[in-house]
């Protein structure tokens, strides 16, 4: 009897605690109250506060997020606004992402930029709630609202070109592809790269490996895994390795560099030859498939500053320099570069259509 009584009392305590929560004002209402105004940029433009919600890894991932950060920094140095930068964590729920975006919007940050498609459902809700705040999302076009710009990239095109470069460079006729997460986005890199390799020589083997299976996104932030995978591919005879795997790619590049001369790595998203963290390994970086998230972010911020915010799907491709390949280090011979330039023109003119699924 006493045991039941004790348990019941405890249950009542928990229940009471739960019920007590219906009290208090919401965080957003009190924030809006504190900051006085609800947004920093009105129709007249002039940004004062920018909210940035990064994907897992955040600023400093030497890849995707850093590229976005560069665009932000460029705009910041020109327009002189203040910035709040937030990062995502592995295994988050939509509710947490929604809270993050809402916190920025309610705090008067305008525009708010979400990096990565995982923000899409959360952004859809928050953008509806804050119609006077401008939003942008990278890698997603499912949210179609007047105050949302969907920044999309044709990653398969740049991957196709570096695939050609890999095929023209390999001596062993074996190249490697390391994907961060086995999902639709990375499949675009995979498909483009493989098509580019086989465009030069269909006999070349592409050894493929994905670091993690969705919903596990750890493959984007696992340099050790990248290193081990690259070592595995090197021992199988691959001599050019392309990794589309966020910061895991740095591990792959280090492994390739450690393997010595004649082995090449291909970077992704940013021109990884220029990155300080990879300065010791840069002599092994053949080229990088560029995804100019920085210019997309910059263009979006510029449009808001000019009072004409971008809205709807914005495509960044070879035509408008949204994607491309890097030539830093001059490791691509002029013969290779000529072929790449020709292929680039063929893609732009539509003569070559690059597949998006492997």
């Amino acid at each position: 009897m006493r045991r039941i009584g004790r348990f019941a009392a405890a249950v009542v305590c928990v229940g009471g605690l739960a019920l007590a929560t219906a009290c208090g004002s919401t965080s957003t209402s009190s924030q809006a109250h504190k900051s006085g105004s609800s947004s920093s940029a009105g129709k007249s433009g002039k940004i004062t506060k920018v909210g940035m919600a990064y994907d897992v890894g955040g600023r400093g991932d030497q890849s995707f997020n850093d590229s976005a950060a560069r665009g932000l920094d460029k705009a910041k140095s020109q327009y002189g606004f203040t910035v709040s930068e937030q990062s995502a964590q592995n295994g988050e729920t939509d509710a947490i992402r929604e809270q993050r975006l809402e916190q920025l919007a309610a705090g008067g940050y305008n525009p708010v930029i979400a990096i990565g498609y995982t923000y899409a459902p959360a952004l859809g809700k928050v953008a509806k709630k804050y119609p006077n705040t401008e939003f942008a999302i990278v890698d997603d076009s499912t949210v179609q609202l007047k105050n949302v710009a969907d920044l999309m990239f044709t990653e398969q095109q740049s991957s196709y070109l570096v695939g050609m470069a890999a095929a023209l460079t390999t001596k062993t006729n074996k190249v490697g592809f390391i994907g961060g997460v086995d999902n639709a986005l990375i499949h675009k890199f995979d498909a483009g790269f493989t098509a580019g390799v086989h465009h030069i020589n269909p006999k070349i083997t592409v050894i493929k490996k994905y670091l993690s299976e969705p919903p596990d996104t750890s493959g984007y932030a696992n340099p050790t895994g990248g290193k081990n995978t690259a070592n595995g591919m090197l021992s199988q005879g691959a001599d050019v390795i392309y990794s589309a795997a966020g910061s895991s790619g740095t591990g792959a590049i280090q492994a390739v560099h450690a393997a010595g001369k004649g082995k090449w790595a291909i970077g992704v998203d940013s021109d990884q030859y220029q990155q300080k963290a990879l300065a010791a390994d840069k002599s092994s970086i053949l080229t990088s498939a560029l995804k100019n998230v920085d210019s997309a972010v910059y263009l979006f911020l510029k449009s808001v500053q000019d009072g004409k915010p971008l809205s709807g799907t914005q495509r960044f491709n070879l035509t408008n320099n949204g994607v491309g390949y890097a030539t830093s280090g001059n490791f691509l011979t002029s013969a290779v570069q000529t072929k790449l330039k020709a292929a680039e023109q063929d893609i732009i003119s539509g003569k070559i259509t690059v597949p998006t699924t492997p």
Binding site: R2, R3, G5, R6, F7, A9, A10, V11, C13, V14, G15, G16, L17, A18, T21, A22, C23, G24, S25, T26, S27, T28, S30, G58, S84, Q86, S87, Q89, N90, G91, E92, T93, D94, A95, I96, Q99, R100, Q103, L104, G107, Y117, T118, A120, P121, D139, D140, S141, T142, D182, N183, A184, L185, E213, P214, P215, D216
Partner: protein, 392 residues
């Protein structure tokens, strides 16, 4: 008491209230020790976190102030309760195994398998709500239960440790879902995301519309499961057998418990409970399984079960605490604290709780010994004194 000390106070408060109301009936010292352990753990966590913050050049009280402020906001309270609902169910699943010394580390894979197939089933058929919701829940519990059952079956037939099999089954579950969650098979591609078809409206669980947002109605199911957990373990023969097996397998065997059967059944039940983890998210929020369906909850729940001492009431507090920390991670980051701060705090809590419970247990044991010794010592001499007196 100022805002600085609010979060730990919230966790202590109910424990104190419990003591006040029932102090007379129960051994006061035992109760005090029971309360002392979590309180000590929280204090230790705060000290360690403060040191970590100081080392990273941040002011520790600021973090507490942020937590205190956001504890008072109704939208954060609602989010905390929603998240706690998920954590509570998960920790119960883990605790069920722990109570008979069965380490079901595979809760993570089990709930994802369950939630995935439940989402597929829910998206495929459109029944009236009274059938649709139970159908989705049953599918999830059955799939998750069977997935856990594999580990149980391997343990009794082949003697393979369930720790190994269940954790490996997590990886297998991930691959199975990755294979099936494909536009060519059971899912649809939506932009860069891949999702199962949406569950029709009849499969949406009700929620409470509060000032702070939507409080998931599934919290009621979670509470009922907690009560059921308590009754099953403490009021039934099965529960007695389960706890007996946990205490001593050989003793249970000697008293006629079929230990092998208990292992398989417990694994099935633990897995079925794990099948409920994804349900609040699926039936109250996302209505579909997508690539970004929350993963890793199973591992968080192992920590929560440890902190809650495998007890349904303790777990409720632990789940609330962890859920609050998770939701307050955003404001902390917004106020300039590293995004890694919350995982550091959560990990520290688990370590401190395990540590302090052991310290308090040993202290209690020593107290008991010395008290018994004292009583023996006192009755001894008095007896001889009277004997002497009589003799004199």
């Amino acid at each position: 008491m100022n805002a600085n000390t609010k979060p730990p106070a919230a966790a202590e408060r109910p424990a104190k209230g419990l003591g006040k109301g029932l102090g007379k009936g129960i051994d006061r010292e035992k109760l005090l020790l029971a309360v002392a352990a979590p309180v000590l753990a929280l204090i230790a966590t705060m000290v360690i976190t403060a040191i970590v913050l100081l080392c990273s050049g941040k002011e520790p009280f600021g973090a507490l102030r942020v937590m205190g402020t956001y504890l008072g906001y109704s939208d954060y309270q609602v989010n905390t309760l929603n998240q706690a609902t998920t954590y509570y169910l998960g920790a119960l699943a883990v605790a069920f195994g722990f109570r008979m010394k069965l380490f079901n580390i595979g809760v993570d894979g089990q709930y994802r398998i369950g939630a995935f197939f439940a989402a597929v089933a829910g998206g495929a058929v459109n029944l009236p709500a009274v059938l649709e919701i139970p159908m989705i829940m049953v599918v999830s519990m059955a799939c998750a239960g069977l997935w856990a059952g594999i580990a149980g079956w391997l343990k009794v037939t082949r003697g393979v440790s369930e720790v190994i099999t269940s954790i490996m089954l997590n990886a297998v579950a991930g691959s199975v879902i990755a294979y099936l969650l494909n536009p060519k098979r059971l899912a649809l591609a939506v932009g860069n995301d891949v999702r199962t078809p949406k569950i029709p409206d009849s499969g949406h669980f009700f929620s409470f519309n509060l000032a702070g947002g939507q409080l998931w109605g599934f919290i009621i199911i979670a509470a009922l499961v907690g009560i059921g957990f308590h009754l099953l373990l403490n009021r039934t023969r099965f529960g007695f057998d389960l706890r007996a097996t946990g205490r001593s397998e050989s003793a249970a065997l000697a008293s006629g418990v079929n230990v092998k059967r208990m292992v398989v059944v417990s694994m099935l039940v633990s897995g079925a409970l794990a099948g409920l983890i994804g349900m609040p998210q699926l039936l109250n929020s996302s209505y579909q399984y997508s690539v970004d369906f929350p993963a890793g909850i199973g591992f968080t729940c192992i920590g929560i079960a440890l902190v809650g001492r495998n007890n349904p009431v303790g777990i409720a507090f632990a789940a609330l605490l962890f859920a609050f920390l998770d939701t307050v991670a955003n404001p902390l980051q917004f106020n300039g604290y590293q995004v890694e701060l919350v995982p550091v705090i959560e990990g520290t809590i688990v370590v401190c709780v395990v540590g302090t419970y052991e310290v308090v247990r040993r202290y209690g044991l020593r107290r008991q010994q010395s008290r018994v010794g004292e009583q023996l010592g006192r009755t001894g001499p008095t007896a001889t004194d009277t004997a002497k007196g009589v003799a004199a």
